[in-house]
Amino acid sequence: MNKINHDQLLSLEHPFIKIPIEKLKSSLRVSQKHIEKEIASLNKTVSDISKKSTKGELDPKEVEVALEEIVKRLSTLKRKLKDTRAEESLYSQKTKVRLQHLQDFTAISTLDSEDFARWSRVRLNRILIDSMLRDGFRETAMLLAKSEHIEDLVDIELFAQSAKVEQALMRQSCIECLQWCKENGSSLKKLKSTLEFSLRVQEFIELARDRRTQEAISYAKKHLTSWQGTHMKEISHVMGLLAFPPETKCHPYKRLYDKSRWNDLIAQFRSNNFALQCFTPEPLLNVTLQAGLSALKTPMCYQPNNRNINCPVCDPETLGALAADLPLSHHFNSSIVCRISGQIMNEDNLPMALPNGYVYSYNALTEMASLNNGKITCPRSGAVFDFSQLKKVFIS
């Protein structure tokens, strides 16, 4: 029961390990592209030089200068690629540290060991940091990562750029987000993302709102026509805006003018961005918390007499409220918990029934009897019985 099934638990760590690998991949791709381009132009320049030199158009001195130029160009590119290289080593380092973190986990064999508790605490911290980053609590996230020394296990830097884009959208500016779309064009295409279209439509809507009809039409010509194959219906809707003022009550133009469309854009950007970087659409905190609360939730958690202060769901103000709408867990096997000691009752610690029907564990009752001259006081009803009045209960 207390053994860990590593493969199963690792299935939750897919994003954790995948995120830095994908970043490393894309960063390598960037530098590779630059280098390939440079090599191509280099070959061309060198063959140009030798051609000219054979024809006598360049004397050796000039050849020397031309070659010097090439060296200079290569050095410039090298400086330019410095950041990409730094990124590459950051992510390869991160991947390494994360693999090691998971490796440490596979070395733990039982759920009740101190090592597991320590590992789980680290996991909780990185899950919390992820949730805070998504919520925009960057400062707290950084503080926690630093104080726990887990910077390599979290993705703080990946949220810096997306935060900028989101802030721009909040200011109702599409420029940053469109720039982001351009940078990630091919990946977005693979996702079949319509984010760019939505952004273009929004810019058009803003022009229509300001009644700048001429500009709006030329904007549509330039940026919307390329989507006609897939989005003709939407395009004809937005073109309709030119005929309707922003105050219109008419459907669907009212909806298009609505400012809440900006929030939809933020949501769309977020989900695209998460998918692109292999993040889960929902924070892992919500996922695991939801699963945990469901697994722990019993009908008794909401009955004041049956509350257990150690049970997370029993707190009606915090987790209990979060769990309120979650499904209950299913049980086909009995597990009886002693109300006095919190221990599980089984063949080694038999359940004993008092004459009033209340059941407690043998261990707890013998301890109570030994301190009270063989008398038992039922903690729930206050009734007093003799130890000899107890009856063994058999749960099969």
Partner: protein
Amino acid sequence: MESFIKDYDKILKRQRNLETDDPLDRLIAVVNEAKEKIRADPSSVKTSLATLDSSLSAVSNGISEEQKELQSALSKYSKTIDKKFTGDMMGAINPHAFDNKEKMLRNTIAMHFIRQGNFEIGDTFAKASRCSEAGLEVSDSMRNQFMEMFDIVAALKENNLEPALEWATRHRSGLEKRSSTLEFKLHRQRYLQLLEAQQLLEAIAYARKNFGSSGSRHTQEILRLMCCSIYMHRIESSPYADLITSNTNSDIQHMFTRDFCSLIGLSCDSPLYVSVTVGTQAMPTMIKMASIIKAKKTEWSQQSELPPVEINLTDDTKFHSIFACPVSKEQASEENPPMMMVCGHVVCKESLQKLCRGSSSYRFKCPYCPSELVASQAKNVYF
């Protein structure tokens, strides 16, 4: 996992190579070489340029080869990761379950930090969330209580029992109500500390002063403690070696934390930690169930129960008694309570009714033992 690390190390080596032996440096070297040659001997322009051309293509072929290899190794690696870490988490949960409950979630998180003694982070988080819509309420009194707790634990870590003893004496009645042995355990620890410091007389005086009040409850243990003083110089090799094992200190810290929290009406572990840890254990089962149900195309997320599969909890996370009737396999409820028959076996009321064919005087055999029973003698039990 080990094979993953090994495979990755190979990739890492290649990536590191790119850093130490930058392909651009190699290109620069080749061009520089040709340049130097021409400078040294201007008449060799033609041959030098020809060499440059051929060595350039050799070097650049090498470079693109290396990069391609690294890229494809990485892609392959990424795919094996996909294969090893599978499971559609999102299918198993309801993404809107916590909608409009951000405030509660944030409260829980803030509380969690305070319970971990991470006051600085708790405060930063609370400040940040107060700026956003959902305000936070972690009462100052709660915060101060935990401050006190962590101060005392810090002292305990340094083997200073005074603050803990002072606290335990102050809360004696509350602790006794919970039949806690904290105060005695602390006195016991202090006594052993004195013995280990070879201060026999002080130890005995301390025992006389402090063990008296708990004499009736811990007679046996006090006897052992007093006896162990005759081995004062070598307790570790005496029959009393178990009294001074190295983890007594961490046991006392844990006991203190538990009693402290219980006295202020809180669980001893952070509820957020417990829930998330249970969640990670429950998740694989839920993922599997969700994928089966998805394959069968039945909907369950709207129902009030999880799919009919048992999620195993570890013993320390079972907080409530669950009674599932061994006959009907149904969970007991208020309408269908567990009934104990004369032989001590328990079934649910509905099952009992079936066994006795609806008559309270009908004699039937217990399904689990040879006893003959009548339903009227069965009685309600409360777990």
